[in-house]
């Protein structure tokens, strides 16, 4: 079994540190703008909470029959932090074992979690935008209100912009580091 390079070992600390930002800053933000809301409305998604103008958005969405958003309805706010904590703890194990193969496995796990998280986020957005109350006062045939997973979308009088927030960028950076270092470690091994 090949040992990790210095860069590889340092990267473990950096990744764990980057992921720790998830508890201090929001990871995703969805900005909404409509003529009646010149200052815009903003929804901040944290690893364990949803903040921002949620009450106002909930108040508006009942017109088109969208479900109201409540923190307690999200199992993700429990299992996502738990998963990330476990992942970060595994980082310590990787550091101690100091083996390239374990590092690759750790990176793979990260990609798996990331893929699943995005799939879960997409699924929630799909349900949020499509599961509409059949008795809603405003019904536009064929219209759904699924927010964009990433980027810009216009829905009725609202424009929505969905993008990572600070901790989200740290999360993405952690992923890039993991993949980058894995490649680096692999190339080093091949050269030898």
């Amino acid at each position: 079994m090949k040992k990790l390079t210095l860069a590889g070992r340092v990267s473990i600390a950096v990744v764990v540190l980057f992921l720790a930002t998830l508890w201090y800053m929001p990871m995703w933000q969805i900005d909404l703008r409509a003529p009646q809301y010149p200052g815009g409305l903003s929804m901040k998604i944290w690893i364990n909470d949803i903040k921002g103008d949620v009450d106002i958005i909930n108040g508006l969405n009942h017109y088109i029959g969208m479900k109201t958003i409540h923190k307690k309805d999200f199992a993700e706010f429990v299992f996502l932090p738990t998963t990330m904590l476990v992942f970060m703890a595994l980082g310590i194990v990787v550091f101690i074992l100091n083996r390239k193969l374990v590092y690759y496995l750790w990176t793979g796990l990260f990609m798996l979690i990331a893929l699943f998280s995005f799939y879960d986020f997409y699924k929630w957005e799909y349900n949020y935008g499509h599961n509409l109350d059949p008795h809603a006062p405003i019904q536009v045939p064929g219209m759904s209100y699924q927010p964009p997973l990433f980027g810009y979308k216009k829905m009725l009088n609202f424009e929505a912009l969905s993008q990572p927030d600070i901790a989200g960028w740290f999360y993405i950076a952690a992923g890039i580091i993991l993949v980058g270092i894995s490649i680096y470690e692999y190339k080093k091994m091949v050269k030898k």
Partner: protein, 659 residues
């Protein structure tokens, strides 16, 4: 032949005279005026301009330099538009010792000050007819307190304030006997008095309290202003009718060559009050406070006031002779000069505070007026502005050593220099200005950029609207040497005095909505599940909520003719600019306009059986028209059960006195 030639000449002369044209008022507007008053859509004005409503009883708020109307603040008159004076929460604000009064005549305004500069906390307003002073909070633009002034009438020289808002004054313009005594009108000289009331203002809460009243001989205290800097301890009141006429004042009060500026040393008065030199007398006056926490106004009848008689309090009051029925009484930003504008005089006397204090020290008195020392005119005089114009009324300052005085008769604003009293410029106004206003122009720190003249006569300025016209105001740019007219705009009611301050003092602390968690109204519904209908005898209380786009409950049955129904409507919204309204058919109260997080109550007494729709009166949302409900009123003695709800009204029934 010579005769014929001279005749022809004179005919030609006459003809040529006719071809001369009077100066057109349009010609005074020059070049870039429009761009100076233009505030682009979506941009904010530089100044808030608070303008008294005169006979409207309210205060209006304009933006400067655009002249855009931003708000009408209900103060002394009922305001059906939002239910002020009609809702159970606000009825008490208009209470007096003579019951609720729906109207008053609102003349002057003063913004609160700290160290002689505007601090943007409160706005004070006077009521002239039934003497009162109001305090408006500038975070909510809401009238928070109204205090009635006993022993007074014609509360005109009010609500001017001292440099740290220690006191707001109220001075009598129509002298009356103290304690509402029943005496012959002809006993004016013996029995009639004018009082200068000093209302203390609590530094944190703003709550007002009549600290003391200085009792003065019967005369008309007209306007006033506090000293500044060196003259900090003094308050100056102009007075007319020192002739003490009580009939046909037009002639009888204009006889004397000079009336007075009354100078009151309020610091001394404060000391005399503390030292027990005054005497307490029994009076009645209403003190109305709006409690923001309980969202409810209460009216208390106060029973006592402290009177200070200048006879018992030496060196507290002095008189300075001032020509011909002075009106305006204004103090310059340095506090050294005070200006009395004799409205029938052909000059403006300017007094020097330094000379005034020296005259007192040297006892340069020419006599006394009912025991109050009268200082020699020349001993206190800094100088006179010669030939300023006709009918000088009010003066404001730009902080650059210049003063601006309105001329009622010659319909103009005249700019003159304080140091050498030279007239520098004059511009016409349209027509006959009363007060004028420079932002901060009566404080230590004027913002000498704009000047507004509030005119009394409008005539041809705007499209005609029948016999009754609005009053006009004109905005001048005074940043250069010459005053330049840049805007002419109509106003509400009859503006007298105004105040203006930089928008930055107020705009960022403006409240957007009330936090519903801090709503402690006795009848608040904290959520739709807390709504209820409760009967106690013939009183029915309805706990109702409003949120886009429904009222809960929206079906109510079991109410009878002769019941007193109280709709306590809570607006559950927690977002900016989402008010809801409430009205019910045949209600004799006015509409309620309920701000987010607020609870307001309408009392409704149905006179006949039937179905009474109620609805939201403020277009709140796309489903605003659906925001309505029904009240069923059954004949007296019917056995309709009490039933209410929303969505499924039959499912909810309340037992009597369940709450």
């Amino acid at each position: 032949m010579k005769k014929i030639i001279s005749m022809l000449c004179s005919v030609v002369a006459l003809a040529s005279m006719q071809s001369c044209k009077m100066k057109d008022t349009q010609s005074v507007v020059q070049g870039d005026a429009a761009s100076k008053a233009y505030v682009a859509p979506g941009k904010y004005d530089e100044f808030y301009n608070f303008v008294s409503g005169g006979f409207s009883g309210q205060v209006t708020v304009y933006g400067l330099p655009s002249g855009r109307l931003l708000k009408v603040i209900p103060v002394f008159s009922v305001f059906p538009e939002n239910g002020y004076g009609y809702s159970e929460e606000t009825k008490a604000m208009l209470n007096t010792t003579n019951g609720a009064i729906p109207w008053d005549d609102q003349h002057h305004l003063e913004l609160s000050q700290t160290n002689g500069e505007q601090d943007g906390r409160w706005l004070f307003a006077n009521a002239n007819n039934t003497p009162r002073v109001a305090r408006i909070d500038l975070t909510t633009f809401k009238t928070m307190e109204i205090i009635q002034i006993p022993n007074s009438a014609g509360n005109h020289s009010s609500p001017f304030i001292t440099e740290n808002t220690e006191y707001v004054v109220a001075g009598t313009r129509f002298s009356v006997p103290l304690g509402d005594a029943d005496v012959p009108i002809s006993s004016f000289k013996q029995n009639f008095k004018s009082t200068a009331s000093f209302i203390s203002v609590d530094k944190t809460t703003g709550h007002m309290n009549i600290a003391f009243q200085v009792v003065l001989p019967g005369m008309n205290l007209d306007l006033s202003h506090a000293g500044k800097g060196p003259s900090h301890d003094w308050f100056f009141f102009s007075t007319y009718n020192t002739e003490q006429a009580y009939t046909l004042l037009e002639v009888n009060a204009s006889q004397k060559d000079k009336d007075f500026i009354v100078a009151v040393n309020w610091k001394k008065a404060e000391e005399y009050a503390k030292a027990g030199k005054g005497h307490k007398v029994a009076v009645d006056y209403a003190h109305n406070i709006y409690d923001e926490d309980k969202q409810m106004a209460t009216s208390t009848i106060e029973k006592e006031v402290l009177l200070l008689d200048p006879k018992d309090c030496p060196d507290m009051v002095f008189m300075v002779p001032c020509p011909k029925s002075p009106h305006g009484c204004d103090v310059d930003p340095t506090g050294e000069y005070f200006v009395g504008s004799g409205k029938l005089a052909a000059l403006i006397p300017v007094f020097s505070f330094t000379k005034f204090t020296k005259a007192i020290a040297d006892k340069q008195f020419e006599g006394d007026y009912y025991g109050i020392p009268v200082i020699k005119y020349d001993a206190a005089l800094h100088g006179e502005v010669k030939k300023p114009g006709l009918g000088p009324l009010h003066t404001e300052f730009d902080g650059k050593g210049n003063a601006y005085t309105t001329m009622f008769l010659s319909s103009e604003v005249v700019k003159w220099r304080l140091s050498d009293l030279q007239v520098l410029d004059r511009v016409p106004t349209f027509y006959s200005p009363g007060h004028l206003m420079v932002p901060g122009g009566d404080t230590r720190k004027p913002w000498g950029k704009y000047l507004v003249a509030y005119n009394k006569i409008t005539k041809d300025r705007y499209l005609p609207t029948g016999p009754e016209l609005c009053q006009s105001a004109q905005l001048f740019d005074i940043s250069g040497d010459k005053m330049q007219l840049i805007l002419d705009f109509p106003t509400i009611g009859e503006p007298h005095y105004g105040q203006a301050c930089p928008a930055s003092l107020i705009k960022d602390k403006s409240v957007k909505f009330y936090d519903i968690n801090k709503n402690h109204n006795e009848f608040v519904s904290m959520g739709e599940k807390k709504t209820n209908v409760v009967r106690k005898g013939n009183r029915v209380d309805v706990w109702m909520t409003a949120i886009r786009s429904h009222l809960v409950p929206d079906n109510i049955e079991g109410v009878f003719v002769g019941d007193e129904v109280y709709f306590h409507v809570t607006n559950l919204e927690q977002d900016w600019d989402i008010p809801h309204g409430f009205a019910i058919k045949n209600s004799t109260a006015a509409d309620l306009l309920i701000m987010p997080g607020e609870t307001l109550t309408m009392k409704f007494e149905p006179q006949k059986q039937g179905i009474y729709p109620f609805y939201c009166t403020d277009f709140c949302s796309a489903l605003h028209q659906e925001m309505s409900g029904y009240l069923r009123v059954s004949p007296k003695g019917a056995n309709t059960p009490l039933k209410f709800g929303s969505g499924n009204p039959d499912a909810v029934a309340s037992t009597e006195e369940s709450k």
